[in-house]
Assembly symmetry: C2
Homo-oligomer: 168 residues x 2
DNA sequence: ACTAACATGTAAAGCGTTACATGATTTG
DNA sequence: CAAATCATGTAACGCTTTACATGTTAGT
């Protein structure tokens, strides 16, 4: 469902687009929120078209297919945004490593936390150098920035605690 | 892979356990990091046994099967923790709703943000009233607490901004 | 001519959720 | 004896990733 919603949202925000365009948007502006490659997007657009949520215009240059959101697509999008209680489930390999930290020696734990920190720093850097983008997605951007900074702060505190230890 | 690692980690931390036990641990202590129900855990344990990562002891009361981590299982776990660069990918319906906020009217956006905030509050409450648990998982717990508080703070700031608006 | 970017797809395998199904033991 | 909890599993479906496969256009 969320893939559909994300595609409808992009089509609603930026107007008609091809699967290729949408895959790029996913990679560039939506990547801190949801991920999908073109292999998932192309078939989904076909299904959405057969469900009447989008319409494919005639092919353009290089076999390019432009999709437009339909009124029914807009309705579906609005309804999901208005009614759907968002699942707050997290699946984070970084958090899993954090969970298992006590299984490691002090030195190994430090290395692991430094790697987790590096991951948050990469995310922070990507979000920081990606402003504007038509301003769309700004709320999610500020949420992502805050979460990344929180992760870095957690890593710093955890590193300080681990380094203060004298036991193994 | 992560499901395997989580199971190996639990078996390594708490000793021999049944699939049922592990499912409970997932639900109670690991749920802010990774999720899996018994329908995923039982078959995975069978596969892990055939891969030599765990060993099933004879059945106990009520058909209960106790699994123990093997030396090879410990090696796999250690290697993953030491070498694996954790994927920092996020898939969050809440963040997706945040991303699409500009598509909504001021009033609808406020409702959506309040729902997102409620989700973070539930997560915060669950983590707060779940201390100890053998102290294992404490690092992930503090990370989860910090992330939940960050989410609530973002929601409050966003609500303040939205409410300050006079336009639709 | 070559390379990079454009542009679309299919297939297989793996991961995850939901629904279905069964039976034993404990507690009230 | 009824209900809750213990305990295990299968099957179908849907979502996601990886690998394969093809052809066009623009710039150097």
């Amino acid at each position: 469902m969320s893939l559909r919603i994300a595609l409808l949202g992009l089509l609603s925000a930026v107007g008609p687009a091809s699967g290729y365009d949408l895959a790029k948007k996913f990679d560039r502006s939506l990547n801190h929120v949801w991920q999908a490659g073109h292999t998932q997007i192309y078939p989904e657009l076909v299904k959405m078209a057969s469900d009447g949520l989008v319409e494919a215009e005639a092919e353009g240059a290089r076999g390019r297919k432009l999709y437009t959101i339909t009124p029914e697509g807009r309705r579906e999008l609005r309804e999901w945004l208005a009614e759907h209680d968002p699942a707050m489930t997290i699946r984070s390999e970084g958090a899993l490593q954090a969970f298992l930290l006590p299984l490691l020696s002090r030195d190994q734990a430090i290395k692991v936390v430094e790697r987790i920190k590096a991951g948050y720093q990469v995310r922070l850097a990507r979000l920081e150098c990606k402003p504007a983008e038509g301003e769309f997605g700004g709320y999610a951007r500020s949420l992502g920035l805050a979460q990344a900074r929180t992760g870095i702060q957690w890593a710093d505190e955890t590193l300080a605690e681990l380094k203060a230890r004298t036991d193994l």
